[in-house]
Symmetry: C2
Subunit: 566 residues, 2 copies
Amino acid sequence: MTAMKWWGWGLDGVSFTHEDKPELGPFILDKLGLDVTRTTERSKRFEELDLPDPILPGQLRAALEAAVGSEHVTADAIDRVIHARGKSIRDLIRQRRGDLPRLVDVVVRPGSEEEVTAVLEAVIEHDAVLIPFGGGTSISGSLEPEPDEERPVVSVDLGRLDRVLSVDAASRTARVQAGVFGPALEEQLGAQGWTFGHFPDSFTHSTLGGWIATRSSGMQSDRYGDIADLTRAVRVVTPHGTLATRPVPSQSTGPSLREMVLGSEGRLGLITEATVHVRRVPEERQILGYLFPTFSAGLAAMAELAASEHQVSVTRVSDAPETAFSFATRKQATRLDKVQSKALQAFLTRRKGFVLDQMCLSFIGYEGSAGHVAEQRKAVGKLVGRHGGLCIGASPGALYDQKKFDTPYIRDFLLDRGCLADVSETAAPWSELADVYDKTRSAVHGAFAELGVRGYLMCHLSHSYHAGACLYFTFAFPPAPGGADMIEQYDVVKHALQQSFVDTAGTLSHHHAVGTEHAEWLAQDVSPAGVTLLSGLFDAVDPGGHLNPGKIVARAPDREEAGKPA
Amino acid sequence: MTAMKWWGWGLDGVSFTHEDKPELGPFILDKLGLDVTRTTERSKRFEELDLPDPILPGQLRAALEAAVGSEHVTADAIDRVIHARGKSIRDLIRQRRGDLPRLVDVVVRPGSEEEVTAVLEAVIEHDAVLIPFGGGTSISGSLEPEPDEERPVVSVDLGRLDRVLSVDAASRTARVQAGVFGPALEEQLGAQGWTFGHFPDSFTHSTLGGWIATRSSGMQSDRYGDIADLTRAVRVVTPHGTLATRPVPSQSTGPSLREMVLGSEGRLGLITEATVHVRRVPEERQILGYLFPTFSAGLAAMAELAASEHQVSVTRVSDAPETAFSFATRKQATRLDKVQSKALQAFLTRRKGFVLDQMCLSFIGYEGSAGHVAEQRKAVGKLVGRHGGLCIGASPGALYDQKKFDTPYIRDFLLDRGCLADVSETAAPWSELADVYDKTRSAVHGAFAELGVRGYLMCHLSHSYHAGACLYFTFAFPPAPGGADMIEQYDVVKHALQQSFVDTAGTLSHHHAVGTEHAEWLAQDVSPAGVTLLSGLFDAVDPGGHLNPGKIVARAPDREEAGKPA
């Protein structure tokens, strides 16, 4: 797997462009006052970076080389830069600026669980710090060393652990190494007729271990479940030996160790392997587009769908601003497209009573046997109709399905034009979604006003459950020219979003983890006692603070005071 | 809620009898050599018990009375005896014998979360021990003070916290106090048209808090999920304040605190409230009986059903010995029953090729709209047919549904006749179920042989999941007359079962928890590192060892050595 750009999302040579989307430039100019034809900012070149020397005592290096082989230990600048951070907007801005005061000191690439164990032993023996690295897609700050860390920091890249070890066809599970990337996992499983069915937006560049360590969720979670549901058992190298849970379907053996490892962001050890659910590649797979007259009609339909006997794989409803953005990203329309579009608009406004700028685009996915898909489509179509919505066929869904992994490139495109863009997401009970949505919109528009900027905020519902759903917000604004540093301006908006989530009935994140970005809101979400339990667990497992310290909860006060390990 | 018998299961005056089941006496005589018409053993009478004085310093008592009111603090003998233990077979035997060297010292009944907090504070301040008590149905030893405990032991009976506080109809959740018993919960929800849908065998006498603290599973788990799935959020009074998680459908906020509380058996604090899933009472609810030619045919059918698109609420297949037992517990048959039964037998043997003593009884449940139920029944009927099975209609299922909560009374009936009977259950991947079943049967029959007893062992599959299912074993034997004490003989068989579970691909328990009964196998199940994580968590939350010490994992070695709190 090729590493991502050190300064941005995705592979070198791949980027987002407005040029094949005729309506996008005018749309952004209208909404943000931003001229996308002018590129104003560029990342520093790698050669321009001023990088700190690695803190890497010879004995530690020797121990790491003994653990994994010298060819798998590197302190090369590019490796240290790539492994120093994830891909949050804060990360991208600082990388592009060359703001890199504290990198990781060395990158090691173990090839087996035994080698992972030897690495952890070396780290503890030499009083270093260990940060596990999967694909590096974290947008929560989970990968960065603490700024004042004086101990050597070892990034453990799990990328060599990339194999499906076995498939248990009768139990529909697979033993999989944690470092495998999404595409390689699907390819290995697909060769045997299976699928994992976990497709987060980061799919192309993220790994199984990373998904588990951050409680990831994929677009088909309505059918397949979140990573927490898909992960049947884990193997984790800890300071107390390898934690190995059994791949049993359910068990009553005290507090769930599996559910402690899920979301642990490296604080309990290194995930080396998991046994996960797999399913037969479905006979048929469809994602259909729908239109609803309003966002609240769309939410009501999704709530009813979740309560129904129908079975779907994807549920997604964009609000009106996101719907407008989606339409603005269409490629050059043919004459026929235009005629059809006009006919649809006429039908919607004259016959269905839609007000076009309140209209909301929705996707609902279906999987299974052809008969099952046909039956579910029909039943869901009726349900949608009861909420004033209508089906607009398979092509918008197919397009969404193809393009869903390209979205993260847009942030780099906008940064090149001096514009900030980012995402924040939450989950809440069905009864509270409208309140979370309304108050969060107010809070973000309040933040735009406070900054004196023209900003755009859009949102979609995705991931429906029995008791609620996820709301996923995207915002963009060109920072006020003469105002504070753009990171500070970003923080004003990000803070407004996160604070609104916990002030209403939301959670600080549905599937983006805590890291350092969201740690500030943890006590407000899970209560102060919850934070005490988590830090108690981390300190008990890792009293020396060697395992990704400072993530999820800040370092224990005694270490903070001492500034150094005991 | 009336307390259960101090010496047995269920309410005074309710018991199991063979008298209305003409085939049962002969069956038991044939299988175990036991004459059920002769009652040979009786529990001691309460007046005969020799009870230790309570360890209850005046200051502690005063603090507890200040916390909950003096009318809710009692050191009466009957309360202390009832709250001293659960209902494991070991508990029943010792209670009947009057083997009661260490009772709880005082029982308190808080009426609010504030009172629970005050009780916990008093316990910590006065260096006592606190054991939460729901319905007292534990069969894993989760409720008993450690035998050498020298500190005062406070049993906190949550029975006054018995209300459904609110229902969120849109989110299909309810806020419920933890002390509510199964029937009261269903009654309060049912009055508003809702059901919780959690029906463990202990349902009549167990509480929501107890279900959560032990990771309970109900007979309709195929549709409703286990208690872990049904519990959306928890409130828990801990030494660090009240842990309150949010009732969001899914979240990415580090290791799951909710999943730490599930199964915690009082070691992290006292569960006072939960937000749980509720569903509309279904239009139709059916449990149909089926017959399979062999147990393996039944297992294969359930595995295929779990992999299918069909939706069922209950899956259960008895092996041939359990099927024979079920038929032996039938009440007096009418002449018509007998004619029908003969016709069915003739059909099965001549037309379907069944060998009657290998035949297996199965139940599959359906819920939902009438159309949905009809559709699912039809599709599942075809699936069953492909495995050589056939439907025998609704009456066996209806009978099972009515009688399912009576089963625990049988142990007392047999103890009255000097015969031991108990249950042990596990879960395993689909691919391993046959191996777990075969090896466990061998191990148990080996144990019977070792003891020189005539024993009976039977099993059913229940609770199907994507990746596996639960196997539930029941055994009975009259202990060898001149052999070791009956508890020691019991331990030989129990040990064979549990060791077989962990030696094969099973777990030490699917839904009966760890307590003290299963703690011996915990490291073999979740790995030694897993036990270290759990004890690290418990010690971090409760460094003084005040919260139900010794359960799940034994006391920390330093406390063990010291024998007393620091």
